[in-house]
Every structure is written in C-alpha cells, then in structure tokens.
C-alpha cells in the first residue's frame, strides 16, 4: 500500500494530492492518506463517491487523520482522470 503524507496541508490540497496519486495507481490498489486537516474525513469520501472509488477505512487519532482508499477502476471512455 502506498502512503501519501498530506499532513500540514489544508483542504482541498489533501484531496487534490489524493486525486493526483490515484491517477497513477492500478485498479484494486490502495492508498493511505495521512492528514492533519479533519476536513479530509468528509472531503476524501466525497471525492471517492463522485469518482466511484472506495473508502476502506478512516480514523482520527492524536490529531492525525488516516484515510485508506481503494482505486476501483481505471478511467473509462467517459471518465478520463487527469
């Protein structure tokens, strides 16, 4: 599992960094996102819902938020992620 360290970044930057890293992952791969902005607990799941990816887990501990997401598909003809 790859890890994205987005600690210290404010939303929407952790979401943008997640979006950019997910672009390079193969379908089925997971990405762990570490962040300090609690907004990612709402925003990354919302981003996953609109793009059809899965939130495997999310938790907040000692002011660090950890969200694990799974890429569910490669970009199709109608959704070419960039």
């Amino acid at each position: 599992m790859e890890t994205l360290d987005a600690r210290g970044l404010l939303c929407p930057l952790p979401v943008i960094r997640t979006q950019d890293r997910m672009r390079d992952l193969a379908a089925g791969m997971t990405l762990e996102v570490l962040a300090t902005d609690p907004g990612v607990l709402e925003d990354i799941p919302a981003w996953c819902r609109v793009h059809g990816h899965e939130v495997v887990s999310s938790e907040e501990d000692d002011d660090v938020v950890r969200v694990v997401v799974r890429k569910m598909h490669q970009p199709g003809a109608n959704e070419e992620e960039r």
Partner: protein, 369 residues
C-alpha cells in the same frame, strides 16, 4: 453488388451521434450548480472543474478553528458534484494564479479581487484542459449571470471573457443565454436555446425558483462569494504584507496565514500572528520552525508567530502584547518564552500591556472591520 451497395450506404450514413460533453466550472455555489443541471436536463454529459487558487474560502479557516469543528464541514464543489452525479476535477492553480493577483490586466474590483482576469484565467485553463488537450469536451459551461457582479459579470464583460480566454463561442452561460449571442452549442443544436434562461442582475429569486424546480434544496449561498480577495479585511492584510516587505509578492503559506489568527503590526518591520483559540494555536505551531514564536509559560496563552525581524526591544514589546492576550492579562508579571528560528530560546518576564496600550491601528485591517 449487394455488398458494394451496402458499403456505399454505410459511407453516406451519418456517424452515430455521440452525447455532447461539457466541462462545467463548479464553484460550489448555486449558479454554477444550476448551469450544470440545465445542461444535464438537455442530455449533455457534464463533468465539473474546480480550481484551487489559494484564496478559496472553502475549508480553510473552518478546518483550523477548533470551535467550528462541531458544525458539519464539506467541500461545496464536491457536494454539488455529488448532488448532480458528475465527476469533479479539482485543479491546483495556486502557483500560476499569483500572476493574476499581482498583475491583473483588467484591474481590481472593490478590493484586491481581480475578478475579470480570474474568470478569463479559469475559462482559459478549462479550455486548455478540456477542449484542446484531446478534445474530450465540446464546450464549456459557467454559471455567470449578466449584471450579477459589478465587474466580472457586466454585460460588456461577457464577450471579453469569451474572447480573451480563447473559448469564444464554445463558452455557454445557460442562465443568461437569452441576453447573449447564440453560441456554437446553440447554433449546432447540441442544446436548445429556448430551454436556456434569461436571468439578469442581482435578484436571486429566479435561481431559487429554478433550484426548487430541480428539487435542489441544499446549496451554499456564500455572502462574499468563494474567494477571500473579495473580503475587505483580508485584502487589507494582503496589502499590509506587500507594504511591509517592500514588494508585491507572496507564497502560498503567506496567504494561508492571512486567514489565521489575530494580526497585529506594532512596528513597521514586524507583525505578530496570535492564535485566537486552540485550533489556531495548533495550526500555527506547524510554522514554528520557520518563524520566531512566542508562548507564555507562567499562564495559559496563545501561540504567536513573528513575521519580520525583531530586536530585543521589539521582542520585549511582543512579549507584553502576547501576555495581554493570555490568561495572565491581569497579572503583575507573565513569563513569555521566545523560540528563535536557530533554536535559541529566550525568556522575558513582562507586565502585560493594558487594553489602552494596544492601539487599534496595530490590528491589521482594524480600521475597516
């Protein structure tokens, strides 16, 4: 023969019509949401584009301030995308956006908001991203309404945006289309101009009625728009930053820090950024290696950053100010620790300033607030 005839018939047949695709600028507000929804109603495949400039009101201060944590937070652009069932592409333009803020060809609005240049920039970026790179989209949609904003949405600004962005007649404003010349999507029949709208001016009622017709009841209506540059006090803080540094420039951290804490400039060459509550203190602590910082050790108090160069007399004054905002504000002596960027630590035992000893004009933007 039969196969030859079939082949000729095939070559004369029109290629199967594919759904037309629009890239819609999604701010998270009602107008862009409606514009995208109007396109969906006409069978257009819509995907959203949202730009992060660094000045976006979205998230930031809400995320930082602990006391706001109880209220639900959401990224409004993502929320809109979810309501419409469209993908949303969030693009970080914060670096290149600096040129728009520092050198707006069309000047500023009421404050340091370069709204017209900003709109041209965003449409242009969408054009390059969605129309040019591989032609995935056929046209661009925005939620602009003629006459709604004094500068960027004047009737005469609309063609300027279309032309200077390079989108030309591939830029469609569904909410105000009846006040504008027919665009390519209308002329080609990809969209039905009769089912577009003629909204105009600052009255929000038509948009709210249209939202109700679509069954959209939950949407953001930010009073000052979605950009901090339209905020008078924020713009004053940015102008103060430029004046103090002697140049009009900024880094992303600068403009984020302008959103956080109480900003006091007791002397022209340094400014204090004082956390107002626990969430802000925690956020400012993340910058404590890049700035000299102060915190009270004898009493509970805020974390404070020093932006600028402060000598011993300045630090003494800064310590007295910080003490004023601590739990020891009424004490005879408060101990304040100063952590320098090189790792040195000094301690000052000071008498807190009284409220009358903190002039109002030390607070950056105070005369405006």
């Amino acid at each position: 023969m039969a196969s030859a005839e079939h082949s000729i018939a095939q070559s004369r047949a029109k290629p199967p019509a594919r759904p037309r695709r629009a890239a819609a600028l999604i701010s998270g507000g009602l107008d862009s949401m409606l514009a995208a929804r109007v396109m969906q109603e006409q069978g257009i495949e819509v995907e959203g584009v949202n730009f992060y400039t660094g000045f976006c009101v979205e998230g930031h201060t809400h995320a930082i301030r602990k006391r706001d944590r109880a209220t639900p937070k959401r990224n409004n652009a993502l929320w809109v995308a979810e309501q419409l069932g469209i993908p949303l592409h969030i693009i970080d333009v914060s670096s290149e956006y600096k040129d728009i803020v520092l050198n707006p060809k069309h000047g500023y609005g009421q404050h340091l908001n370069p709204c017209l240049d900003c709109k041209i920039f965003m449409v242009d970026r969408t054009r390059v991203w969605g129309l040019m790179d591989d032609g995935r989209f056929d046209f661009i949609v925005t939620g602009e309404v003629v006459g709604q904003r004094p500068k960027s949405q004047r009737a005469d600004a609309m063609p300027v945006i279309a032309t200077e962005s390079g989108a030309d007649d591939r830029l469609l404003r569904p909410l105000s289309a009846h006040h504008l010349s027919p665009t390519l999507p209308e002329r080609e029949g990809w969209v039905d101009r009769d089912r577009l709208y003629g909204f105009h001016g600052r009255n929000r009622k038509p948009q709210m009625e249209l939202a109700a017709r679509f069954g959209l009841t939950d949407y953001a209506q930010p009073a000052g728009g979605c950009c901090f540059l339209t905020n008078e006090v924020y713009s004053a803080k940015l102008a103060d930053l430029w004046q103090a540094r002697g140049e009009r420039d900024y880094e992303l951290d600068d403009i984020v820090l302008l959103k956080v804490g109480r900003h006091l400039r007791p002397r022209p060459h340094f400014k204090l950024i004082i956390g107002r509550e626990e969430g802000e203190n925690r956020f400012l602590r993340g910058y404590a290696k890049r700035f000299a910082s102060l915190h009270t050790t004898s009493h509970e108090g805020p974390l404070t950053l020093i932006d600028g160069e402060a000598d011993d007399a300045d630090l003494h004054l800064a310590a007295r100010i910080v003490a004023r905002y601590s739990q020891g504000r009424d004490a005879e002596r408060v101990t304040v620790q100063v952590s320098h960027r090189d790792g040195r630590v000094d301690e000052y035992a000071v008498r807190p300033l009284s409220p009358t000893e903190v002039p109002r004009d030390w607070t950056v933007g105070a005369r405006l607030a």
